[in-house]
Symmetry: C2
Subunit: 355 residues, 2 copies
């Protein structure tokens, strides 16, 4: 019988009772701003679509171009430009405000519509018999930021989402420079919100996040731009995702030592400014439950205060419709082994100092 093996290790195991019911393979890279890999678990050179995990990189153009200054954008508007938001009132208002400052309205958003991630917001729309609009799309803040950048640069705000639009060419260049790797035009995919998404190895993504966390390896203007974006997200973690969601909780608890951003299909990236590190992981099958559980485990190994701050995410209990505890999501043995080995290699740790 033919067999093609998955080449990445099992990073998370989903238990029901005493048995593993499901398992999630994947890969993780941790790197510094020079691209030195501190951890490479699984195939970190395989290209993955980072999807929404790189929204902070896509938002660099908004600040670096001068658009944020011209339009007098506040920290909350920069945060929502980096967000995969829940579509609650607070998010919708921040996006509307960003658009208004750029002289535009919702009709320019090319992201398409979906029901808000927030059940409360969805219930409210359904209660009044309304359908979701583009502004409720989790990506509407990113799109509003791109529209503001296009307006400031004198570019056509129609078609801003297309790969051949000058703004997208500029953003692709920023991603390439920040991650220190050439993009492959033939590999480009179209994202859920219709923007281009560029496949990148996890190793390069991790280096890019080390750079946006520290500014190291970036030109001064770009270093200042990523610092403003970080400050926006650290000031308004609720706007980066939403109530009860991983990224909001993690940034709220651990900023300024941590910036995290998830993307669709099991991607999650993080910047750890104090440690000078960046992290990128992808679950092979695309499961969000696994990327969050795995990231919590890695963060707990990197930041001592993360173990208590992310206790619920590490516990990862699974309850059924009557609230009975029926299982849990656990870190896989290969992940735990790799993190134990990583511990000794961390900057400032006894093991590293002794070498």
């Amino acid at each position: 019988m033919p067999k093609i093996e998955a080449d990445n290790p099992i990073l998370a195991e989903v238990f029901r009772g005493k048995l593993v019911e499901s398992r999630h393979a994947g890969a993780i890279a941790i790197a510094d701003a020079d691209g030195r890999l501190l951890l490479a678990l699984g195939d970190v050179e395989r290209k993955v679509f980072p999807r929404s995990a790189v929204k902070a990189l896509q938002a660099i153009a908004l600040v670096e171009s001068g658009a944020a200054d011209t339009f007098g954008l506040g920290e909350h508007e920069l945060a929502v430009a980096c967000a995969s938001h829940s579509g609650d009132r607070v998010h919708v208002e921040a996006v509307r405000s960003l658009l208004a400052k750029a002289g535009l309205d919702e009709s320019y958003l090319a992201c398409g519509a979906h029901w808000p991630v927030s059940e409360r917001a969805m219930r409210e729309l359904m209660r009044v018999g309304r359908r979701p609009q583009a502004i409720h799309n989790n990506c509407s803040g990113k799109h509003a930021g791109m529209l503001a950048a296009a307006m400031h640069l004198g570019l056509d705000p129609r078609g801003y989402e297309r790969p051949e639009h000058e703004l997208q060419i500029m953003i692709a260049g920023i991603i390439s420079e920040t991650c220190g790797i050439a993009l492959d035009p033939g590999g480009m995919g179209i994202d859920g919100c219709s923007l281009p998404t560029w496949p990148l190895p996890l190793a390069a993504l991790a280096r890019g996040f080390a750079r946006i966390g520290t500014g190291r390896g970036l030109q001064p203007a770009r270093a200042r731009a990523v610092e403003r974006l970080r400050q926006g997200c650290f000031g308004f973690p609720i706007l980066v995702a939403g109530e009860g969601r991983f990224d909001t909780m993690a940034i709220r608890a651990l900023a300024p030592d941590l910036f995290v951003k998830g993307g669709a299909e099991g991607v999650h990236c993080a910047a750890l400014p104090r440690l000078g590190l960046g992290l990128a992981l992808k679950i092979d099958d695309g499961a969000q439950r696994a990327d969050e559980r795995v990231l919590a485990e890695v963060l707990a190994a990197l930041l001592p205060e993360a173990r208590s701050a992310l206790a619920d995410q590490l516990e990862a209990e699974l309850c059924n419709w009557r609230g009975l505890r029926v299982g849990r999501i656990s870190a896989g043995p290969a992940l735990l082994q790799a993190l134990a080995a990583l511990d000794a290699a961390l900057p400032g740790k006894a093991g590293a100092a002794a070498r």
Copy 2:
């Protein structure tokens, strides 16, 4: 770096543009009623929780006990007792009717509540400011059937969901006998709807489905019971799942040559009465998109008419929020290779006859 390999082959690949963005490993067993394996791709002896895929087996007690006759249940009520339904009006009415014939009401349902699978039904509840009730739970028909069996047998209808209740002990015995394998009490898990779920190897599940599709290998009373359940599902495919859902579409198009039932965490089972075969598959990571895509591919290899009937499921286009085609889900090379080899071995095929 430590590596623990996933031991099952990649069965489905999720493309975005030209790149594989995500991949799903898993295992498939196809067997006849004697347990002879026609296909064993991946580890078909590893125990999996069949979850809702075995609702038709759990419903055998309802018919075999005489409860269905005593209460004068119709085909539609038997279908909803085997269902993971969408919670639309048609489903809720069938469950209410089943409960009423047994002299009970919704307050006896122990399945817990969740928003209906059907967006239309969910919108309708939200529009009038209501919360979902147990009757909307996709498992409410199964629970109503168990309650009817308990009433007919003179058992306490309170606590019917507990592993130690006489009805659940009876149902566990039926599952064990039908699949031809002893159950391991230590491995039992609790399902989303609070019922016991028993881990079984895919090979045994496939044999069980060959038996419920044909009646072969079953005592006459049980063979008659599964025939009545089949007829109920074939007569009312809409009640087995719901509009737009895989099981409803597949049964509607391919009955009486096919009965299919999916379960949570990437399990799908099928009975192919004309071929005398049963099928069971599990996606390692639990992804429904993969179990349906893989099942469509296997069915197309087994039933000539399935390729056109399941054309949309085989195409498996992925469209984004603006309706742009951004990718597709494809059968993995290992699956295609295994199915090509299977083709020659099928009963009635030239390859098989020539051997």
